[in-house]
């Protein structure tokens, strides 16, 4: 009986010390972790809304989006979308101008094939999207009006990114109508 009690006590002490240490580490790192995440988000927003010094988060009908402002005027909108890629879901943050044209996008997460599909995050592929409106946001091989070249050996990924960006532009137009800002 005495040994059981003794052993239990030792186990308890070890567990308590372990939990205490972890609580300290957790407290100590939490500020830095959330600062990292905020920094990461700000960096992405600067990337997709390059000409907007101020960005305000908004929520319309439960969907979060961002309004970019410059010198008192609306200069762009950013919104997250998801699309089905080759290996799984792709999620994107897309910047759209007040005229409904693409300003840029940033891939938040993806499961595409390394070396093929993940080239969708590279500047060369991204640059094609800049300034396009809904009518031209198609792959050349899918539509005669399309302005986008698909990535070599990664058509499905290219199409997924295109669809994701289209969905973002459509959502921004719809959200703005609901939010009351003029198109």
């Amino acid at each position: 009986m005495k040994t059981t009690l003794d052993a239990g006590l030792r186990l308890f002490v070890v567990c308590a010390v372990a939990a205490g240490t972890l609580a300290l580490v957790y407290r100590g790192t939490q500020a830095r972790i959330s600062a990292n995440q905020a920094e990461e988000k700000a960096r992405r927003l600067r990337w997709v809304l390059p000409d907007c010094p101020q960005v305000e988060p908004r929520t319309t009908e439960g969907r979060e989006w961002f309004l970019g402002r410059s010198e008192g005027r609306d200069c762009g909108y950013a919104i997250e979308t998801k699309a089905k890629g080759y290996g799984g879901t792709l999620s994107l943050l897309v910047g759209v101008s007040p005229e409904g044209r693409v300003l840029g996008y940033s891939i938040l997460s993806h499961k595409e094939t390394p070396g093929l599909g993940d080239k969708a995050a590279k500047p060369a592929f991204q640059a094609q999207f800049k300034g396009l409106g809904l009518e031209k946001l198609r792959l050349k091989k899918d539509s005669p009006e399309g302005a986008l070249d698909a990535l070599t050996a990664a058509t499905i990924t290219s199409r997924a990114v295109t669809l994701g960006v289209r969905e973002a532009v459509e959502s921004v137009i719809a959200l703005r109508a609901k939010d009351g800002t003029r198109p």
Binding site: L11, V14, P114, G115
Partner: protein, 199 residues
């Protein structure tokens, strides 16, 4: 440094290299070795956990009742693993993102519990620390080698910098899952060829 220290330290690097000799800890070795940076990040995180838990367990070894040693080992190891997880998230968020679930999974890496049971519980603190460092370093080197080979030949870069001529077509297979199996098979076969002479 005494010669026995040197022996404790190098044991895990060469003679009992966890990956190439003992074939344990394979899951992270194959999963996160797609690039040299990820591989080394994983290796160093594991080294930290190994050395720290070896040290603490060795320090407490006279106070740990034999019946309760496994649960206590698990508590100690998982404490360091969680600490490593949060520290990486705070200071190396990019590497942490690509390692994902494999950081908390260090806790079931057979090397860590294995060394606690086989070495730290029976040896003094200094030797246990050296053993943990050596084993961790052996693991890191094996991982770094795999990561570097896969990155150089599979993507044409090393630590993200282009090292192969532009005309080199990257052998994509190597950065995909099957490439990991094939490469490690070939490496171990090569090692056998040079160490295990035919009778």
């Amino acid at each position: 440094m005494k010669s026995s220290d040197w022996k404790d330290f190098t044991n895990g690097i060469v003679r009992e290299n966890p990956i190439f000799r003992l074939l344990i800890g394979l899951c992270p070795a194959l999963a996160v070795s797609t690039s040299a940076v990820d591989a080394l990040g994983m290796g160093l995180a594991t080294t930290f956990v190994l050395a720290a838990s070896n040290g603490v367990i060795s320090l407490l070894r006279t106070l740990i009742p034999p019946d309760l040693r496994i649960p206590i080992f698990i508590v100690v190891v998982s404490t360091f693993v969680t600490a490593a997880d949060y520290l990486m998230l705070a200071f190396f968020p990019a590497i942490h993102r690509s390692l994902g679930v494999f950081v908390p999974l260090i806790v079931v890496n057979c090397i860590v519990l294995g060394r606690a049971e086989a070495f730290a519980y029976r040896n003094e603190v200094r030797a246990s620390l050296l053993d943990g460092l050596g084993m961790g370093l052996g693991f890191s080197l094996a991982l770094g080698l795999l990561g570097a080979l896969r990155e150089v030949f599979g993507a044409g870069t090393l630590f993200g910098l282009a090292v192969m001529p532009a005309s080199y077509p990257p052998l994509l297979l190597l950065v995909l899952p099957p490439g990991a199996f094939l490469l490690i098979g070939l490496l171990i076969a090569g090692l056998n060829r040079f160490t295990r002479r035919a009778p």
